[in-house]
């Protein structure tokens, strides 16, 4: 992935700074709805992490997964299952444990799905995602179809000193923001590495990559596992935020929503899907406030995007800013 035009980088940085400052001035702007909006934004930032992880598969490696939410949900379920009922879990234990389990699960699903391609891959990932859904829905492992509660948020301590209180809404907001920025930078580093370049090349032309002597299967499998694990991290954070997990977090409707965020934002741009998460969730909020039948305008919006805006908001921004930087004589 090439560097972003400088003006676009500046714009994105300003957006992040504004997000970072929001808890400080939100009270003044929205006196009645501040607490609600802060929670909403926390949730959106977590979904943005999920959307970026899916972009690694869909936009970069060309793997259109319709089962990505399974890993998101699994991350949350791991927290619920590893937390003691009435006391706090140790984050330094449960987070790595959850991520390892999600990584193993995504490697297994990846191993079976990556042998297929195109439309087949879509159907297979969708089916495996539903398998995860039914696993938690039908079994009595964690509350079945009712879901499970996480009564006490995990403790973040070093040598007995509490570093973060995850029960505090503002702290959690900054954890979400940290995850958003951290995962974005991590994925940019990954994509700039030799590994990332091969994965991007597979997305463009797999046969040529094979012709150059690389084994695309190994690269795709690793990308699939990384994407799945990051989605697991997002699900883990969401479970901390809501204190609750249910099978719907794994369902294919949730995978579909993530896919819409990626397309809405512009696939393959990484920052685009994060923007897509904001646009999608805010649109959903808007529709919900107007009508209880909000799925109707939502469905129409999705169809409209496919027909009219195939490159998404991110593609639009890139076009806009790369045009301008050329005129300025920049990169």
């Amino acid at each position: 992935m090439s560097r972003l035009p400088r003006s676009l980088s500046i714009l994105l940085s300003v957006a992040i700074i504004l997000l970072g400052a929001y808890p400080l001035f939100g009270d003044v702007l929205f006196p009645n709805k501040h607490a609600f909006l802060m929670q909403k934004l926390t949730g959106i930032m977590i979904m943005a992490v999920m959307a970026m992880s899916l972009d690694l598969l869909v936009g970069v490696a060309g793997l259109v997964s319709m089962g990505h939410a399974a890993f998101f949900g699994l991350g949350g379920y791991m927290l619920a299952m590893l937390s003691p009922e009435y006391s706090a879990a140790n984050l330094w234990v449960v987070l790595p444990a959850a991520l390892v389990v999600v990584a193993i699960a995504s490697a297994m699903v990846g191993y079976l799905s990556i042998r297929t391609s195109g439309i087949y891959f879509i159907m297979v990932t969708l089916a495996f995602g539903q398998m995860g859904f039914y696993f938690f829905n039908d079994s009595k492992l964690a509350g079945g179809s009712d879901g499970a509660y996480i009564m006490v948020k995990p403790a973040v301590e070093i040598l007995g000193v509490s570093l973060l209180n995850l029960g505090d809404k503002r702290t959690l907001y900054y954890v979400g923001l940290g995850a958003l920025v951290g995962v974005y930078l991590l994925l940019r580093v990954v994509l700039a590495s030799p590994f990332g370049r091969v994965v991007s090349a597979i997305g463009v032309n797999e046969n040529r990559v094979r012709g150059l002597g690389f084994d695309p299967v190994a690269y795709k499998l690793l990308a699939f596992t990384i994407g799945g694990t990051i989605a697991g991290l997002a699900g883990f954070l969401a479970a901390i935020q809501y204190g609750f997990v249910n099978p719907a977090t794994l369902s294919w409707h949730h995978s579909g929503e993530a896919l819409v965020m990626v397309i809405l934002g512009g696939m393959g741009t990484l920052f685009g899907p994060a923007i897509g998460a904001f646009v999608f969730e805010l649109a959903k909020m808007g529709f919900e406030s107007v009508t209880e039948h909000w799925l109707l305008p939502m469905g129409a919006m999705i169809i409209g995007i496919v027909l009219l805006l195939p490159k998404g908001v991110g593609g639009l921004l890139l076009q806009l800013f790369s045009g301008r930087s050329k005129m300025e004589g920049g990169q």
Partner: protein, 286 residues
């Protein structure tokens, strides 16, 4: 396990499998011929069930309600193809997935607005509402046998239409080379619209005939859609023969899964899929 009990489960499994074939054949036909992955296929199944339920409030006969529901479903299918799907032929699968996903949301919400969130049932028609006694305690309902018979007859009919008629020849030709068929003077848009409508009718018919032995409720289309994907994946995308065998396999796996391991019944179906993928990544008949 008692032999009669075993036999009943086999019959149930085959009946479910044949019904799944009817739904899945439309899905695989639309993909094989038009190259379209249609997530809204399950919505047609739901449409068929709800239309039949709705029409039964004005007419007495289930048969008549189904007969009336089918042309409506065909019209809905044809309109969707003409207005939306037609744009997608030159787009990639991702756009197809998203657009038809948007359609599902609209279908589901429209269903809730028109018919509400309650679960409904339809009575088995009196003429078929009896059972064939097998032993003193076990018997097999005739309506289920009627479903199997209808599905099997349609499977044979579909095979004959595709392999032996001119329309079937156009379909097969359109699948292998769309532009060439158009150059030979066949109206490809009309042909594809007809195939899409045919797929919609097959799904709607399945939903309608299954309604008396299952329930009609929100989300019913989604469940069927996913199972049909599993069927198509096992059989090989685009292969009718594969869909047939895949559907029977899944019908039996699901039925016996429910009997032998009720806690993991929904799971057994996916286990079969994973096993097939391990051996044949492109399905049995790709």
């Amino acid at each position: 396990m008692d032999i009669w009990f075993f036999l009943i489960q086999v019959l149930n499994g085959l009946q479910y499998g044949l019904l799944l074939f009817l739904v899945a054949s439309g899905l695989t036909l639309i993909f094989g011929i038009m190259g379209i992955i249609n997530l809204a296929h399950g919505s047609f199944y739901m449409l068929g069930a709800y239309l039949t339920f709705w029409l039964l409030q004005s007419v007495d006969s289930l048969l008549l309600a189904i007969v009336l529901a089918l042309p409506i479903s065909a019209a809905v299918g044809y309109l969707i193809e003409a207005l939306l799907v037609r744009v997608l032929y030159r787009r990639d699968h991702l756009d197809q997935v998203l657009l038809t996903y948007g359609l599902i949301l609209i279908f589901n919400e429209a269903q809730r607005m028109l018919w509400g969130g309650d679960v409904h049932g339809i009575k088995v028609p009196a003429a078929l509402d009896w059972s064939i006694p097998l032993t003193d305690t076990l018997s097999y309902p005739v309506y289920r046998m009627a479903i199997s018979a209808v599905c099997a007859a349609l499977a044979v009919g579909m095979y004959l239409v595709i392999q032996r008629t001119r329309f079937g020849m156009w379909i097969r030709a359109g699948a292998s080379n769309r532009d060439m068929v158009a150059a030979l003077g066949i109206n490809v848009n009309l042909l594809f619209g007809a195939v899409f409508a045919l797929g919609a009718v097959l799904a709607a018919l399945s939903g309608a005939i299954a309604a008396p032995i299952s329930s009609i409720g929100p989300g019913m289309g989604d469940t069927v859609l996913i199972i049909c994907f599993v069927v198509v994946v096992i059989g090989g995308v685009g292969s009718i023969k594969g869909a047939f065998l895949g559907a029977l396999l899944i019908g039996l796996a699901d039925t016996f899964g429910k009997v032998l391991a009720p806690d993991f019944a929904s799971f057994s179906v996916y286990a079969v899929m994973a096993a097939v993928l391990l051996v044949k990544p492109r399905g049995l008949f790709a």
